[in-house]
Subunit: 259 residues, 2 copies
Amino acid sequence: MNYCYEYPHPAVTTDSVVFGFDGKDLHILLIERGADPFKGSWALPGGFIKMDETAEEGARRELFEETNVRDIFLEQFHTFSKVGRDPRERVITIAFYALVRKGDFEVIAGDDAARARWFIVDELPPLAFDHDEIIETAKDAIRRRLKLDPIAFRLLDESFSLPELQRLYELISGRTYDRRNFQKKMLSSGYLERVDFNEEIKFCHLSSLDAKYLVEPGELPKGALPKNEKGSGRKPHTFSFLSKKFENSDDKDKDLFNP
Amino acid sequence: MNYCYEYPHPAVTTDSVVFGFDGKDLHILLIERGADPFKGSWALPGGFIKMDETAEEGARRELFEETNVRDIFLEQFHTFSKVGRDPRERVITIAFYALVRKGDFEVIAGDDAARARWFIVDELPPLAFDHDEIIETAKDAIRRRLKLDPIAFRLLDESFSLPELQRLYELISGRTYDRRNFQKKMLSSGYLERVDFNEEIKFCHLSSLDAKYLVEPGELPKGALPKNEKGSGRKPHTFSFLSKKFENSDDKDKDLFNP
DNA sequence: CCAAAAGTGTTTCCTATACACCCATGT
DNA sequence: ACATGGGTGTATAGGAAACACTTTTGG
């Protein structure tokens, strides 16, 4: 007990709600706690902040230590300060959400996480502390944020299909959209570029171009050729988001999709 | 130094950015610090959180102790955790914004505030700590929030004129609106009710109603008969916001004014 | 050939925007 | 009378919503 203060101090932790999308479902990254309290329960990755790091740095560090996930978009959304949140002592938690492409990471449990894995957002196990409340607040936060910014693209591969994008919007916003109107609005925003590798390959084949112009199988960006789930249906076209064009534009405070 | 921990703990404080509107200008409530560090500097009201209160309770308590302002709408918007924010020790600050009618309060400096008074938002004095950054972040937060919720009404008297409302929207959003289009959109929302006391009194007068139906001077709600600033111009009509109708409606996630 | 999913275009309606004149008030 | 500020309506254009059929693919 070497750290003494004139007045009582709460402990300060960070927790991260990492949302991951795989083209089909929205997931949240959880760890199984390897130590008491709530040993054996699933929980959000996070932990005590160090004295020489900001909250965001702490959240990044803990996330990497516990789950091997790093270099991601992280955004603070709320600080939880209810008395009695943690049975050990007064703990105040600064919470972040992250939006990632699920396939980009190899999740490895580390530090005092016994396990770490993705759960589909509405199939979560019972959670430690008030982490269910933190997750609900995070879902509200990204839903609200989605109305103002094109954050959905952080959850998608570099190339993606419009049905994928629409499904993601519907999962986050909790409503449905008309396919045609959705596509029209998205395409008319001017920030989507068609990158149809299907067509490229067909073109190369038909015109008998030199083999050096053909795309190597390994070079295909993930998601460029999405496989259909149930063995049927037409192949969708693929697009990428022109993030540079968006950032250099003054449309940043215009809604991209807010129907 | 009676409070000892196994690991170092940061101190946790709250700060409140209280916005007040008087029908003409947007103000922020500041205190002059009566103790070091930054003794004599102007700063946001706030202070150390107690171990048995939530952050919001702490913010309310400090605000009342230091400025005599209480019973207000308070909303957490960001937590500031940069290392070195406070020269004394590691301090993490949970920040809130509040929206009030400036005239509703008698501001009295208390606790360790030497003085307390309102400043027009873009005529602020130099501030202690990183409070300028906190205020900028608060302004961003209410600007963003205004796009999704009718929070402006928390800054207005129970009855107000459309020019007042428009001026407030313009001050917060940092842009201008066409008067006619603004009024049309606001009125078509269905959440404004005309409460024109000018007309009421005229009606009573003309129809010679019994004196008991006449409104006593002292009973007139503040702002019901706004005085024009420079001694000229037509008297505006006054309205009130039907907050109950709004809350019972499902329009809550629809934009009220987001042009 | 059938089922499942994706592509595509048109019409209607509503909302956003732009715009100008008259009216009430106080000096 | 005049200056200041507030009230009001209309016309146009652009975006949102509603809506059905065809094409591709895998089984």
